[in-house]
Symmetry: C2
Amino acid sequence: MNTIFVVGIGPGAYEKMTIEAARVLSDCDVIIGYTVYVDLVREHFPEKEFLTTPMRKEVDRCRLAFEEAAKGKRVAMICSGDAGVYGMAGLMFELSDAWPETEVKVIPGVTAATGGAAVLGAPLIHDFALISLSDLLTPWEKIEKRLLLASEADFVICLYNPGSHKRSDYLEKACTLMMQHKSPSTVCGLVSQIGREGEEYQVITLAELAKTKVDMFTTVFIGNSQTKCINGRMVTPRGYRYE
Amino acid sequence: MNTIFVVGIGPGAYEKMTIEAARVLSDCDVIIGYTVYVDLVREHFPEKEFLTTPMRKEVDRCRLAFEEAAKGKRVAMICSGDAGVYGMAGLMFELSDAWPETEVKVIPGVTAATGGAAVLGAPLIHDFALISLSDLLTPWEKIEKRLLLASEADFVICLYNPGSHKRSDYLEKACTLMMQHKSPSTVCGLVSQIGREGEEYQVITLAELAKTKVDMFTTVFIGNSQTKCINGRMVTPRGYRYE
């Protein structure tokens, strides 16, 4: 029985990886991943073999991992953040039927929601919903429905893939939908380059967020009705009483 | 300026802590936390001073951290999982106004949602909502509303605090609500003692989940309409096409 480890490397900085993830990468023969993520870990494991495939070649990347494992190599497939949150872990299990002699094991990591929350303050202290604005694999109508119902339920909402060159107006559309149920003065936060060089954050209102341009390296947080700005940080109360 | 580090230690096993969290604990003078979590890290940092407060004494615990920092000590306050997900990070920012000379810094960790997902397979690959069933600090009506709307939106749902001795019927009530919008055959998962001795998981249907008794060390996952059981693992597809 071979084992492929699907490893979440965290938001980017080596230190934000778990001890387990670092041990698994250190024990393996070959590290497979999307070019950008491989570049983030390469310097820390210089003696390893690295195999990369470009974006949108996810199926090829997963098959490559199974093929390398079938050769008897110890394989780690890396994802940024957590491999189980919009990551490769799902596709690896979906494809695993064709390789019954290989076991898939997921090593969890810090996802952008919690990594970004730590930079902003404490926006995710209460119930929250995580929604990707990318409509590459999900119909936009389904995304709209989730934005509306999550807003009506007064969830804190964290948005992944909030924008790109091709989808420059998606965040504005999402904010307009959320304002059907959330106040324009709702406290919101943006974090870009979490745990990497150039990390930046901003705390603004939902009305301001609707007019903000973001790139694919940004994670967006929309507060619930209780979320506050405390000394420039975004904080959602859990409900503890104190005077 | 003093700094208090609010550190997520992950699900429990030392290896599931980030490298950064371990460094911060190793660099501090005093580690403060709820008794159970302090016991999880004590053996790895035997030379540190440890201060504990019992459950439901969260405000006291946070004030203790500020008081210790004011004495000039380097303070780490620990939480299980991620300190920013139902953790102490929020309350620390809320109380920080009274200690303007102290900065609060959050060190993210692996929360039970992603830690448990890795054990089950890949249930959180698509949009999901995280809901706590504890009504200690949140009115039950608000929890009900969130369960209903999140189900209507076809989110994968992850439940924290799904039950205890006092709240033994809450999970059943929650499942009945979710079945207003989700099929009784929806694939669900349970993980208990994530990353600790006695870790166990189960993949069952939503109808079966409604009849299951759980304790406070269990995290519960309810799939979306696409979630599958593949070789006994719970897997939510992202939507990649393959033949």
